[in-house]
C-alpha cells in the first residue's frame, strides 16, 4: 500500500530530482527568542523506513491558515508542495473566535478574497467591556472606514474558511492530503529530511518541512525546537455557535447589511479564572466563548463549560443570546505567553509557523491569531522558495525565515509586546481592575439624593472599597505603561 494513488504520483513526481542530502550544510540551529534550557534535544533517531519514498520540495504539516498560506506561496513559485491535514478536511479540527483581522494581508495574496471566501460579516464595530457581576462598562468603537474594501476584519467559521483557504493552495498546485496525521520528523545526518505519516509506507521526504501543526506543536517538540508548556502559558477556550435568524442578529446589535461586531469582555465574567470572554456576530449566528488560563481553571476547580453558562447568564450577555439555538460546542487551547514561548523558528530542513510557533497575539487590547498565522506561513513559504533558489536547505539558508518574519512585522510585534502577556495574564488585571472600573462607574452615575462627588474622591472611595494599595497601583500603572504605552 502506498501513500498516493498512482495517477497523482505520476502527475506530481515526474522528474523530481533527489535533492536531499546533496546541498545542505550542517549549519547551526535557529536561535530561540529566549534560550530556554528546558527544550528537550531532538533524539534524531527516526530515519527513513519507506523504500522509494515520495520526494517533495516542501512538506507543510497542517492545513490551517499558516499551512495553507505557506503552501500557497511555495506552490505559486512552482515548487512541489505536499500539504498534510489530519482532519477529514481542512478546518474540521480548528477552532477560534473567530475574527480574522488583517484582511489587507489576504487581499495582496488573493485580490478581493472576501468576495470568494465564506466570510460571515465584516467587523466595523468593536467593543471592550469591563464587568462586575451586576455591571458593565464598555468602550464601543465604530468606524465606517472599516466598512470599505479591503475592510479591517471579518468574522469567519473556521471549518468553512480554512477549507476554502486550503483549496486556494490546491488551486495554486499544492497537493492536499486529508486524513493524514504526522507522527514524527525524519532525520539524516542531523538534518530534517521529511515526515512520517501514520499509515503503511507513510514516510515522505521534502527539502523543507514547515510545521504548522497547531498549538500543541508535537513536531516542533520532536525536532528539539520547542519545550513543553506550563499550564500558565496556555489558555483553554470553550465556545458555542448559537443560531439566530439574520434579522435578529442585525437588530440586536444595531448592524446594517453585512456589518458585524466583535466584543471582548474582561472582569467578573470569568469568576476567579484568569481570562476573558468574547462574542462575535456571524451572518445568522453568534460565536461566543470564555477563555481561561489552564492553571487557573485547575486552581479554581472550575469546569470550563460551566463558566461558559455563567457568561451567557450575565445580565449584559443574556439579552444578546436570548432565543438562540445551540449549533455547536467546541474547545481549543491558545498559546498566550507570546515572546516567552516562541520556539526555535528554523533548523536544518525545517521551519515552524502559526500557532505551532506560538504566534498568537493575546495582549488584552488585541486578541489576534489568524493574521499572524497567515503572515508567518507566508514568511515560511518565502524562505522555502528562496532556499530552493539557492539549493541550500541548511539552517543558515533558512534563517531567511526570521528576516521575512521581521519584514512582515510578526517578530517585531511580538518583541514590542514581550512584557504584556506576563503582565496581563494575572488575576489583578483580568478580573480585579475591570471589576473596580465597573464598580466606580456605577458610583459615578448613581443619583440617590446624596452629594455629587468629583472624580478623585470617587476614585479614592473605590480604592478603599476594594482595599487597593497605592504602591501596588503605582507598580501596575508602570507595568501597564511598559506593556501598552512605550
Amino acid at each position: 500500500m502506498t501513500l498516493f494513488s498512482r495517477e497523482s504520483a505520476r502527475r506530481l513526481f515526474q522528474n523530481v530530482a533527489q535533492m536531499v542530502g546533496t546541498n545542505g550544510t550542517n549549519g547551526t540551529n535557529g536561535t530561540a527568542a529566549t534560550t530556554d534550557t528546558t527544550v528537550a534535544p531532538a533524539r534524531k533517531n527516526t530515519t527513513l523506513r519507506t523504500a522509494n519514498p515520495e520526494q517533495f520540495d516542501v512538506i507543510v504539516v497542517g492545513a490551517g491558515p499558516a499551512g495553507s498560506a505557506a503552501a500557497l506561496v511555495a506552490a505559486r513559485a512552482g515548487l512541489k508542495v505536499l500539504l498534510l491535514e489530519r482532519g477529514e478536511y481542512p478546518g474540521s479540527k480548528n477552532v477560534s473566535g473567530a475574527a480574522l483581522y488583517g484582511s489587507a494581508i489576504l487581499d495582496e495574496l488573493i485580490p478581493k478574497w472576501w468576495e470568494h471566501a465564506p466570510v460571515e460579516r465584516y467587523i466595523s464595530r468593536r467593543m471592550l467591556s469591563f464587568m462586575s457581576p451586576e455591571t458593565s462598562v464598555s468602550l464601543d468603537f465604530r468606524s465606517t472606514n472599516y466598512a470599505q474594501p479591503p475592510y479591517n476584519g471579518f468574522s469567519v467559521l473556521r471549518p468553512k474558511f480554512d477549507r476554502w483557504f486550503a483549496a486556494q493552495a490546491e488551486a495554486a498546485g499544492a497537493f492536499l492530503l486529508n486524513a493524514a496525521v504526522v507522527d514524527d520528523v525524519l532525520w539524516k545526518d542531523d538534518r530534517v529530511i521529511g515526515v512520517r505519516v501514520r499509515r503503511d509506507a507513510g514516510d515522505v521526504c521534502g527539502n523543507v518541512v514547515i510545521a504548522c501543526d497547531g498549538a500543541n506543536s508535537f513536531l516542533a517538540k520532536k525536532a528539539g525546537m520547542q519545550r513543553e508548556f506550563h499550564s500558565h502559558e496556555m489558555s483553554l477556550g470553550v465556545k458555542e455557535v448559537i443560531g439566530l435568524d439574520e434579522q435578529t442578529v442585525r437588530e440586536r446589535f444595531h448592524l446594517q447589511g453585512d456589518e458585524g461586531m466583535a466584543v471582548e469582555y474582561l472582569g467578573a465574567i470569568t469568576e476567579q479564572v484568569h481570562g476573558g470572554a468574547f462574542l462575535y456576530t456571524n451572518r445568522d449566528s453568534l460565536s461566543l466563548g470564555v477563555i481561561g488560563q489552564i492553571s487557573s481553571f485547575v486552581a479554581q476547580k472550575q469546569r470550563p463549560y460551566e463558566l461558559l453558562e455563567l457568561f451567557k447568564a450575565h445580565p449584559a450577555v443574556a439579552p444578546l443570546v436570548r432565543g438562540g439555538k445551540l449549533r455547536e460546542y467546541s474547545a481549543h487551547i491558545i498559546p498566550e505567553a507570546g515572546w516567552e514561548m516562541l520556539p526555535r523558528l528554523y533548523t536544518d530542513g525545517m521551519l515552524v509557523a502559526g500557532d505551532a510557533a506560538a504566534f498568537c497575539f493575546a495582549v488584552g487590547l488585541y486578541l489576534e491569531g489568524i493574521n499572524y498565522a497567515i503572515q508567518s506561513g507566508l514568511a515560511a513559504g518565502e524562505a522555502a522558495v528562496a532556499a530552493h533558489r539557492d539549493k541550500d536547505f541548511s539552517a543558515y539558508s533558512l534563517a531567511r525565515y526570521k528576516d521575512q518574519l521581521n519584514k512582515r512585522h510578526v517578530l517585531t510585534d511580538f518583541k514590542r509586546y514581550r512584557h504584556t502577556p506576563g503582565f496581563i495574564n494575572d488575576a489583578r488585571l483580568q478580573n480585579f481592575y475591570p471589576e473596580v472600573v465597573a464598580h466606580g462607574a456605577e458610583r459615578l452615575f448613581r443619583v440617590d439624593g446624596t452629594a455629587k462627588k468629583k472624580l478623585l474622591p470617587i476614585a479614592w472611595e473605590t480604592m478603599r472599597h476594594f482595599q487597593i494599595k497605592p504602591g501596588q497601583l503605582l507598580k501596575d500603572l508602570y507595568h501597564a505603561g511598559r506593556s501598552f504605552g512605550w
Partner: protein, 94 residues
C-alpha cells in the same frame, strides 16, 4: 438566555470514533495525585474520579485540545497523541 446542559453540548460536534484509543490514562499513576486537574479542566468532561483513587477515562468524545496533558502534574499519567487521520472530532461551524 440559552441554557444548555453539558449533555446537549457534547452531542453537537461529530465524532468518528477509532477503535484504537489516542489517549491512554495510566490510572495507577493517578493514585498518587491529589490535584485531579484533568477532572476539572477537560472541556469534554472525559475524566471521572473513582472512589478507589483512580481515574475513569473515555477517549471517544475527545476534542483533541491537549488541555489534559498540559494540566496534568503526574509524570507519565497521560499518554497523549492525535487519533489516526480522519478519525476523532469534526467541527462543522466551530
Amino acid at each position: 438566555m440559552v441554557t444548555t446542559t453539558f449533555e446537549e453540548k457534547i452531542t453537537t460536534p461529530r465524532f468518528n470514533v477509532d477503535e484504537i484509543p489516542h489517549i491512554v490514562v495510566h490510572a495507577e499513576v493517578c493514585q498518587d495525585c491529589s490535584v485531579r486537574a484533568c477532572v476539572y479542566v477537560c472541556p469534554a468532561n472525559l475524566f471521572v474520579p473513582l472512589d478507589d483513587g483512580g481515574i475513569l477515562f473515555n477517549y471517544e468524545e475527545c476534542f483533541e485540545c491537549g488541555t489534559c496533558y498540559i494540566a496534568c502534574n503526574q509524570e507519565g499519567a497521560i499518554e497523549w497523541s492525535y487519533p489516526r487521520g480522519g478519525y476523532g472530532v469534526t467541527f462543522r461551524e466551530a
